[in-house]
Amino acid sequence: MKSASNLERVLTAGHFAVTGECGPPRGADPEKVLKKAALVKGNVDVCNVTDNQTSVVRMSSLAGCMLVKQSGIEPLLQMVVRDRNRIALQSDLLGAAALGVHNLLCLSGDHQKFGDDPKAKNVFDIDSIQLIHLVKTMRDEGIFPSGEKLDGVPRFYIGCAVNPFADPFEIRVPRLKLKVDAGADFVQTQCIYNMDKFKLYMEGARKQGLHERVKILAGVTPLKSAGMAKFMNRMVAGIDIPDEVIKRVADEPKEKQAAKGIEICIEQIQELKEMEGIAGVHVMAIEWEEKLNEIVGGAGLLPRPVVEQ
């Protein structure tokens, strides 16, 4: 094993993995995280804790990870390169490892323009692919990228995100390959709604044998309403919700749209489970953690396997 990660153990044992996420609150109240964590517990193998997503200031990802861990769930630290230079990145990685975080997701981070502080200075000292390389160098070579020897090696299971629906489409598989070459162990994808396009993406990934070099976890997010679907389609770059999916939700009366959204999400997971090269799902029930059990259970993925170290 490269790490002490439960996700790595579950995937290596050949199980179909399930990951979820907890967005930390916009304040210092730990109860907000603990409450979400209680809803996530038992439904996932590890739980992502987001890092100031959409550039909105929130409780730090590492603090959120600690609260999630305290709740008995294995945390996954999301880390963006927007806010930290390589010195801070390395330092936070060492701190996270020392506190028992075994999973990491290397991200660029949304541009600060989208948050409350659009006038902030961004960092982008290294990019997310170079962060993957940085962590791998620390873990596998026991040295800092500067060449200095580490006194205690952080053993992260290294992840990255991909958006198969951003443009240009033709570059999406080559960019995944760059991430795998840099050292990613697993990938979590952007929310998938356009299954046809995702199939094409996976075909490309399989052609290059990438599914055998990296564990691909397909991202899903249940739609709460037709309104939410339309909003996401319009406002979120790289989200692609086909009209027929929106129509299925919109055709329901308002009070039944959420249930339809969950039904569609479960169908998607079942379809993804059968897709060659898909090793698991990443269920992003954003601010809807109470539905996670219904979704994961409905997809026949409960109870979660226990794989001994």
């Binding site: 692919i129 170079q130 952007q190 770059a237």
Partner: protein, 221 residues
């Protein structure tokens, strides 16, 4: 060229408020080309300030000059005999020119009349766009002649990020995705093999992070 935009006239009037006589100094370099700090702009700005001050009941005397370049010492020296006859200099050269003049004339306050912008090009009459951040370590030969540091809002070296939509950057609809441009160029040059290579971490010490930079050419000294 170095580009810039005029400061709002209210801001300039506030800056010159304490003074009764000033020099307005333009530059025949970049700021003339991008029509923000040349001879013509000196005249227009000076007239506007005179009129505004007259309207406010407190006239101001303005000497108008335009130097060949404000970033070279030989063009600044001729000002020395008379600069102290004035209470301040309002310069509409770039930030480099304004600072260089400030260094030369220790007793005269220097006021910026423009906001210095970026190293850019004239895309069409009246429209300028950034092309270079002067990062000190050019990689244009690897990126199809398009700079990832300048043209990508995140300055990433392995783009495009997930926010690239139909060739547009997620930051604003009128910003082209730099990495889409790079890929288009690499494809047309048949150099896509460059895309698939992992690039080393950038040394920002060659950029502003190494402190104020200096170029020393022994052969010219």
């Amino acid at each position: 060229m170095i580009t810039g935009t005029p400061k709002p006239i209210e801001e300039i009037l506030e800056m010159i408020e304490p003074y009764d006589n000033i020099i307005v100094a333009g530059c025949f370099g970049c700021v003339t080309v991008c029509r923000v700090g040349g001879d013509k702009e000196v005249q227009v700005l000076s007239s506007t300030l005179r009129l505004a001050r007259e309207a406010s009941g407190r006239k101001i005397e303005i000497k108008e000059i335009c130097l060949e370049r404000q970033c070279d010492p030989e063009y600044l020296e001729p000002m020395r005999p008379y600069v102290e006859d004035y209470q301040a200099v309002l310069s509409i050269a770039c930030g480099a020119g304004i600072q260089f003049m400030a260094e030369k004339f220790m007793k005269t306050p220097l006021l910026p009349g423009i906001n210095t912008g970026f190293l850019g090009v004239t895309e069409r009459q009246g429209e300028w766009a950034e092309r270079c951040q002067g990062c000190g370590d050019c990689v244009l030969h690897l990126t199809g002649g398009i700079c990832p540091v300048t043209r990508c809002a995140k300055s990433i070296f392995h783009g495009p990020c997930g926010g690239s939509v139909n060739g547009t950057c997620e930051v604003a609809k009128d910003i082209k995705c730099g990495w889409q441009l790079i890929i288009d160029r690499l494809k047309s040059l048949d150099q896509m093999e460059n895309y698939g290579k992992l690039k080393p971490y950038k040394g920002w010490d060659a950029s502003r992070d190494g402190g104020p930079r200096r170029i020393l050419r022994e052969d010219m000294i």
